[in-house]
Amino acid sequence: MAEETLLSDDFLRQLMGVGEVDLMVGIPTHNNAQTIGATVAVVEESFRQNFTRDRVVIVNVDGGSRDGTPDEVLKSITETHPSLRGLTSLRTIHRITTRYTGGPSPGGALRSILAAADLVRAKACAVISPQSPGLDTNVVKNLLQPAYRENFDFVAPLYSRHKFEGLLARLVLYPMTRALFGRGIRELHSTDFGFSGKLATQCLGEDVWGEDPVRKSPEIWMVISAIASGLNCGQTFLGPKVQPATTSGTDIVTAIRETVGALFWCLESHQDFWTRVANPEPVPTFGPDHELTTDTVRINRKRIYELFQKGVTDLSPILKTILTDQTRTEVERIAALDERNCRIENQLWVTVVLEFATAYHHNVMNRDHLLQSFVPLYRGRMYSFLAEHHSSTPDEIEKDTEKLCLEFERQKPYLLETWKAK
């Protein structure tokens, strides 16, 4: 029986028409008819301004939109013909679209994008979300140039954020990746990132696409794979992180499942690598480093505190199977404190995270349930952070984050010991 193929005949035909390219931008969509036109327009304009002589293609991979998104991709005529004099761009800017199989998922979309990148031999690629309100031509340029001109293989974004945004990254993903994998990637989980054709081909060949963490957060797996393969990873500043107006935000349970879960899974799949990493190395950054803003925002800290308390109480039997007695006892003690005194400090927090990672590795329980039970503890840490830093400056927050990173590094031997224990 013929093997099922990732690429439809129509997609293959379109790729044949495109031929070899220097640069590719992949845009995964699912019911984004409202915004995709503007996204494509910005990408095209960036090609015209910044990559005038290069062979380029925009590849839309669609998860089965019912609102006509693919038609909008092909329909958007972005060349304004300001006058009848001369060309608007030297080369044809291709736009192609395909529907990927398996239902909408970031992993399915990325896999199709990687396949396209491989077949058109793109030297550098970027994935752009069709819902990035802050997207401008510089974003596209900044994601492509490091891979295209500076030989980087993965390019993560850096943003200017409010000091209380992106806490999952600040409190778990960034310090853990830095300590364990030796590279401090600030935005491990992002809808906009860049990569080299070499990395695309490598990742495409991996037999991981059926795994849930890769389906949900493929870019986390991708950057960890790049790090573990010794490829060049960098970060590039994209400006303010603007949240789409229409989304209500991913709920915290889903966020933790998809990000922390993916990172834990990567610990498993790349244990040969991180168990040997000694000291972290700095990650080259293009443009300004990330920035923190300190505008006043209203956050219901009390609610977070209450959810932490309730979660610890309700999940006590489950936490017994995940955490050591000492760690669990300490967590429960802190959860019983009043709001003013309830603080999960760095040392305890890192221990909690690493014990969860170990429990994940040892399959002490259903992994999805394990990740869900991490949520209240994360809320506790989040509450502590918000309380401690409600009037902190960006510098103070960065200093605290650095301490957290160092704590992860300090406890890495503990993780190694428990990881290998039977």
Partner: protein
């Protein structure tokens, strides 16, 4: 030459061969080509298949701009022969069915022309107002300088008449003043002189610049068009069937005006198309060609674009964007010696790195895109250039007839030649010459002859419409030319690698493509996309037959 409705449009079916008499063949061994020599080579041109010769200026001139600085409009420069020699050549050309276009530089003369000598002599000379004089050099502010490499201003100080005169080109080429009716009448009289001798057409040099007005860019002014209309009217009344060809290096929309309502020029060069053909092949992308042709306006039924790859001037990059110009410099003129006046002073073959396939592809495009094609002398054998000869002289070297003495161009001492021959091992006359190529049926010369033959076999190319196909493979430029019921499909691979292309030919369903060179049948067109595979730089011309 016979006239009549169809013959009146002879220029549409023309294959024009451009040459300077000085470069072609020297009959009296003084090192300079001449009209008797050119006449001796008419058989070669007839055999090549061209049917019009366009001669670069041959008038008496101090030759500071290769003859475009005319000192006498009604004579032949003694270097090239006599007026009788010219008449003999003309008759011989006509006898072979070859028409002749000559240059007519309307815009300016040499400063050695008696008219200018008179004009400058005193302020009340009758010919004073034949040129554009001014006491100050501040009129017509902001008007661009065309010869940027040599001129700092469009005004030059004349120490004789102690005033400034206007010149859009070299300072030794003062502009004539067409606001003076006497100038127009005199130039018409000059043209009549040559028309009565029998020349078939004029290429009017530098026409956009005839008239100046303050507050304008002094180009393409309505008054200029009025002058042209008047000329055309006189031509049609007194010499029907003769032709005016405009040299107007402008965007297509601006050149359009020079056709008028069919009452100005018969033909005009499509300058913006030419660099884009070169760009498309280097980019391996059809976009530059399609875009410029889609921006090209419709012209009157009795008008025609004139297309070319290279000519006696630098490959002009005036009508391209800065991005395009930078690209062209980078890929075709990396050595700055190759650049002149916002252009590239190289020949076709060296620009194509002597890649026979690319040379052929460009000629195929020239012959199949809309317009009357012009071949520059020597390009049919792939002549090279010498960028170190100064100005544009590197593309005006002697024609290479054989591998012997002076490349067969002249019996003079080599040191006496008007220009050194190209002599390097790749493009030199020993390697590239007519005699050698006549001996091989696989030479570029033979191929060009065959190409011209195929082109002339159908009026689809000279008079037909064009419909671009837009296959997803942008490296393939495909279009259908149609004239009446006749249709030709041209498919060109612009890239250096083999390509597959699927063409949507449903509109031609049922037609049988017949390849026009080998006349072999290809599968009938059906409902499905028509798949073709092409080798690097390969082209197909298919006649679409319905039987």
């Amino acid at each position: 030459m016979a006239t009549g409705t169809d013959q009146a449009l002879w220029y549409k079916d023309a294959i024009i061969y451009q040459l300077h008499v000085r470069t072609f063949y020297d009959s009296n061994n003084d090192g300079i080509g001449d009209f008797p020599g050119l006449m001796q080579k008419l058989d070669y041109l007839q055999e090549l298949g061209i049917n019009v010769i366009w001669l670069l200026p041959f008038f008496p001139s101090p030759l500071r701009d290769d003859g475009y600085d005319i000192a006498n409009y009604r004579a032949i420069h003694p270097n090239y022969g006599t007026l009788e020699d010219f008449k003999a050549f003309l008759a011989a050309a006509h006898a072979r069915g070859i028409r002749v276009i000559i240059e007519m530089v309307l815009n300016h003369t040499s400063d050695q022309h008696p008219w200018f000598q008179e004009s400058r002599s005193t302020r009340d000379n009758p010919k004073r107002d034949w040129y554009v004089w001014s006491d100050a050099d501040d009129r017509y502010k902001g008007v661009r300088i065309i010869f940027l490499d040599t001129e700092l201003s469009n005004w030059a100080w004349d120490p004789v008449s102690k005033s400034y005169y206007w010149h859009r080109f070299f300072s030794h080429q003062p502009d004539l003043n067409y606001d003076n009716p006497e100038v127009f009448e005199e130039m018409w009289d000059v043209m009549k002189f040559w028309l009565e001798i029998g020349v078939d057409a004029f290429r009017l040099d530098a026409v956009p610049y005839l008239i100046e007005r303050d507050g304008t860019n002094c180009e393409n002014l309505p008054e200029t068009h009025a002058v042209i209309k008047k000329l055309r009217k006189r031509l049609d009344e007194s010499f029907p069937g003769r032709m005016l060809l405009a040299e107007a290096n402008q965007w297509p929309a601006d050149v359009r005006a020079y056709f008028g309502d069919g009452d100005e020029f018969h033909m005009a060069f499509h300058f913006p198309l030419m660099p884009r053909i070169f760009m498309a092949v280097q980019l391996e992308d059809r976009k530059p060609i399609i875009e410029i042709l889609e921006q090209t306006p419709q012209i009157p039924e009795n008008s025609q674009w004139c297309t070319f790859l290279r000519n006696h001037d630098e490959l002009t990059l005036e009508m391209v964007t800065d991005i395009e110009r930078d690209y062209m410099y980078d890929v075709y003129a990396r050595d700055k010696t190759m650049r002149l006046n916002l252009g590239i002073r190289r020949r076709l073959a060296p620009m194509m790195d002597n890649d026979r396939r690319r040379i052929q592809l460009l000629n195929l495009l020239l012959m199949s895109l809309p317009g009357t094609p012009v071949l520059y002398y020597g390009d049919e054998i792939g002549m090279g250039d010498n960028v170190y000869l100064g100005d544009r002289n590197g593309v005006r070297t002697p024609m290479q007839w054989n591998g012997g003495w002076n490349g067969g161009f002249s019996g003079a001492d080599p040191e006496r030649l008007y220009s050194p021959l190209i002599s390097n091992p790749v493009f030199g006359y020993q390697a590239i010459n007519v005699e050698a190529q006549k001996r091989s049926p696989h030479s570029l010369l033979y191929w060009m002859k065959r190409l011209i033959e195929v082109r002339k076999s159908s009026r689809v190319f000279s008079r037909g419409t064009i419909e671009f196909l837009q296959p997803s493979n942008h490296r393939v430029l495909a279009y259908v030319r149609q004239f009446g019921t006749e249709k030709v499909l041209a498919v060109n691979n612009l890239s250096s690698s083999a390509q597959a292309v699927e063409l949507d030919l449903r509109n031609y369903k049922g037609s049988i493509p017949v390849e026009m060179v080998g006349r072999n049948l290809f599968p009938r067109i059906g409902d499905l996309p028509y798949l073709l595979t092409l080798g690097p730089y390969q082209s197909f011309w298919f006649r679409l037959r319905r039987i």
